[in-house]
Amino acid sequence: MTSSVVVTGAAGGIGRAVVTRLARNHHVVATDVVAEVSELGADNVTPVVADVTSGHGRLEILAAAKRALAGLVNVVGITRDSLVNKMSEHEMRQVLRVNAAGPIEMSLAAADAMGSGGSIVQISSRSHLGNIGQVNYAASKGALIGATQALARTLAPRIRVNAIAPGLIQTPMTDAMPPDVLDKLVGRIPRGRIGHPSDVAAMVAHLLSQDADYVTGQTIYVCGGRSI
């Protein structure tokens, strides 16, 4: 274990799966704004309660890396869904700040800290293609994809930057859906099942690894084929 990786938004379903997966091979700085992130603490996992949308928070997160920083995974994200006519300016700003500005600023800060190179993975969403009631969320996840491409160009060849666009992933929200509604959604997925946080974590691990050394600036859809 020679390197550290930062995972933002670590307390959520995908975040936890990413931390668990990466902790096999890395020291992981698991960070979130909620105290529950402390539950992830282990020998090779350092939990940090901090906010990526603040400069102070980002410094605090990077300072927790015990080894050379080799990776950043931005899982952090919120939803504030509403039809466009009813969406408040606050709901627009909050989602943009947490889902886009924070992770992009975190990427820039982490890139400075990755002396000998590294890999950054942004967790975007298939919703960047558009979704009803999610103008704010779609815009924020589209911003991540645009930033991924520009970062990949400007940080090359030292640092690779890629994005993952998950489709329908099992969360407490999907667990609470009426079975017929969930079945209808799953019926549109060529793979024939809902995604699991571990599906996303596996792609994160791949993009951080040497196996993906020739991959940068890309958006990988982990959606069971729903985007085709």
Partner: protein, 148 residues
Amino acid sequence: MAAQLAGPDADRLRPALTDLGLDVDPPGPLIYVRLGGTTMADLEDTLTSWFLDAQAAASDNRDVVTVISDELVDGDDVAGCALGHALISGTRAWAMERNREGNIGNVVVACPEELTGAAATVAWLIESRAVSGEVLHAGRRRHGRQRL
């Protein structure tokens, strides 16, 4: 056909649209023009400005065309590319939602030095109302770079 020009670079597209005979006084479809980049500090304000205009258009049951520069799609500036792709995704989400109410929304990617192609594309979009949720590239490719 009347339209409402908005956004920080509206006046740059106005002459080309007027030449095509488009009445650019409101009310009418929203043509939001953003050709220049932004900074990370201003990203939130910039996108919120677009949102408020697009929300007003939705309230009045009007269509939306978002016009952005090709630099905002495949340039090297991080904040600028975040802005461009956010406007594409935001417009597509707006269109997906508003299609149910009969509104259409599209994006035109323009070359800022040569806006006649973009103007013609905008005029066609709002007059034909033939497509929605699309990204149309109008104008020369300045960099010859393959689009990521």
